[in-house]
Symmetry: C2
Subunit: 408 residues, 2 copies
């Protein structure tokens, strides 16, 4: 069997991503406190239970004034009290009266405008003078001017960013329906993996994959359980059989090629997983494997088998795991690729490549430049890369051509 023939049976990057999006079923929905929802996706529309602002209020520190018309410079008003943010008052303003007021404080009944303190002279304890001409309704925030009661604040599918959490908090939202985040097990295969300095022996290598995956989830504020397994059918089978009971997603590294010790795929199929795809026409990360297990309780367990080379694991996490996590949370969306201008020529390759690159803006134009040491067992250029860029197969790329990528 020639290498060339094998390549023809592979699916493309876009086909693989499409299969992840189409075949993955969303997890169930749960209601959790808003402050625990960072990066979760809403499973409901959220409507405002209040007006925002909640009441008409002063936008500045100054004086609430009652005046039928526009105020002329040097106009004098009687000062009848004070109102602070967070307070209410029984007093109300009549024509010619004023009250000291602070930013965010509820305006007293009768207020027609606010004079900011910079344009007011205090004549005595009971009188103020407004030194400039002042319009009606100056520096007033009206009840509901930002949001009205019942208005839709956030839509089903919205990701809860820092800003979104703040905005919902301001409207008094404390609990929201979100898509559950999967319980994730990570299985590191390979007898050659030395995890600690003590394990290190001739022929073994240090494991970059477990630290990489742990940090990748930490960056997203999530934890995963990591397992190491020996390269035997029995060990892999015992572990996977156990994990499918309590995890919704199993990520594996290594053991999915066609080597004599690549047991992940045969064991998964033997345990009842159905293959969704195996092998993508890409570099790094060709032997990627994706499968689904339907359980008797109608739930699913997904297995994404990443290759063992750390650069392939990195691409697998950034491109495929990210897409899969979104799909599991109801977001059937492909990666949001930026477009950038390539700063140099690139040789053609028979497979689509993900190259680690340095992206920067020249004026408003995003330009990307490839870094050295792109082989699948090499990672050191990630010290300097800030993007992962797609280079199409079979194309001799020229400087100035437009390519797609993601920031990393």
């Amino acid at each position: 069997m020639s290498g060339c023939g094998v390549e023809h049976s592979l699916i493309s990057v876009d086909q693989a991503l499409k299969l992840i999006v189409e075949k993955t079923q969303a997890l169930s929905v749960e209601s959790i406190p808003l402050q625990q929802t960072l990066n979760f996706y809403l499973a409901e529309n959220v409507y405002s239970p209040i007006n925002l602002p909640l009441f008409s209020q002063s936008a500045v520190d100054g004086y609430a004034i009652c005046a039928k018309d526009e105020i002329e410079a040097e106009a004098v008003f009687d000062l009848i009290g004070e109102i602070r943010a967070g307070q209410t008052t029984d007093l109300f303003l009549q024509q010619g009266q004023a009250m000291r007021i602070f930013t965010g404080a509820k305006i007293p009944v009768g207020t027609t405008t606010i004079a900011r303190q910079e344009i007011v002279d205090l004549l005595d304890l009971n009188q103020i003078k407004v030194i400039e001409q002042l319009k009606q309704h100056a520096d007033l925030r009206d009840v509901g001017e930002e949001i009205a009661i019942g208005q839709c604040l956030a839509e089903h599918g919205q990701q809860l960013s820092v800003g979104a959490i703040a905005a919902l908090s301001m409207a008094g939202i404390q609990q929201v329906q979100v898509y559950q985040y999967p319980k994730i097990a990570v299985v590191i295969t390979g007898d050659e993996v030395a995890e600690t300095i003590e394990d290190f022996a001739s022929g073994q290598i240090f494991d970059a994959n477990a630290p990489l995956i742990r940090a990748w989830f930490a960056q997203r504020n999530q934890q995963v359980d990591i397992f190491h397994v020996a390269d035997t059918v029995e060990a892999v089978k015992t572990l996977l059989h156990d994990l499918i009971k309590s995890y919704q997603l199993i990520l594996t590294t290594g053991g999915i090629s066609v080597g004599d010790y690549d047991f992940i795929r045969p064991v998964a199929l033997d345990l009842g997983f159905e293959q969704i795809f195996w092998k993508i026409k890409q570099k790094p990360g060709k032997p990627m494997f994706f499968a689904e297990l339907s359980k008797v309780d109608q739930t699913h367990c997904y297995l994404l088998g990443l290759p063992g080379n750390p650069a392939a694991v990195y691409v697998g996490m950034q491109i495929y795991t990210a897409t899969l996590l979104n799909a599991l949370q109801g977001q059937k969306q492909l990666p949001q690729w930026f477009q950038a201008r390539l700063s140099h020529d690139l040789k053609a390759d028979t497979r689509e490549r993900f190259l680690r690159m340095s992206a920067h803006f020249e004026q408003e134009n995003l330009t990307v430049k490839s870094l050295g040491k792109q082989q699948s067992h090499m990672l050191s250029n990630l010290m300097h890369a800030n993007s992962l860029v797609r280079i199409p197969a079979h194309e001799q790329m020229q400087a100035g051509q437009i390519v797609q990528g993601i920031f990393i």
Copy 2:
């Protein structure tokens, strides 16, 4: 005193950022396990203790072969054993011999090239035939070809991203010197702040600031301690006096303007803080306050006073707190602004503005578009914003002009 006169005494955004970078002293350095260092900054150069690859190895599953010259198609070799990744062998290859080998396995002594399994036929248990012509040194990874022992892997000041942690792990690095992350207290001022539905009463508002700040730090994988304080000199003084003993950074929200109940600044000065700046010519967030306390033990406590309006807090965190946190960790760097093309005209304003915008790529050109509801007490447009964009003061901006911003 007119509003105009006040504006003239304010410093610019760039001046404020420069003062933060110049005046902030880096915290001390500590040695911590690599896997706990996500987003920390290195306080040392890290040199590789090993070669990478650690030993010469096969890049594929196939056969290690000993042949003096290039191999002709149909050449036959004696199969004398097998070597897996993570194993070593006492066997060595002589002219005309081959060993089964797997990706990442250490090549046996005598290996001149690797035949990938796709181009090999197994004739019987003891003989293989290489069906294609094969060069010397094919699919071999040489010891040290990525990194040589003693080579600098990562430089002082490098931020430890997911990829950096993976790359250092692969070289066997387990512990690194990093700049300490500050212990941070957040003080939420304001009697008008209702934190729970039970506190909610007429004149009070829901607090967006504590959830915003908590989520902002969670996004960076960090925690902070949050305190609420009443609007009295005594309460503010008691709390700050306590916090300066054990925190290196105090962030406050509200209470830093010139209102009669704005106690943060006077209390801080009273406790011995020296003002670095107060008031920035920007919108939102004019009354921002930054001060430093030198303690008897030669350490410092910094106080960044953010305004109380949530939009100002958001800008304060993204622009100023982020810069300050970097400076505290030895990174004296200004924000890395992108450049983008404005998609519409904008009216001039007397102060520089940070507008919440939607940024997107048209081909490789980044374009930004302003969203509605930009006032400092409004946050709801953060549901749709993905960038904060600087609009210079006193300039009538035209569609197509280049502006600076950050992604949020």
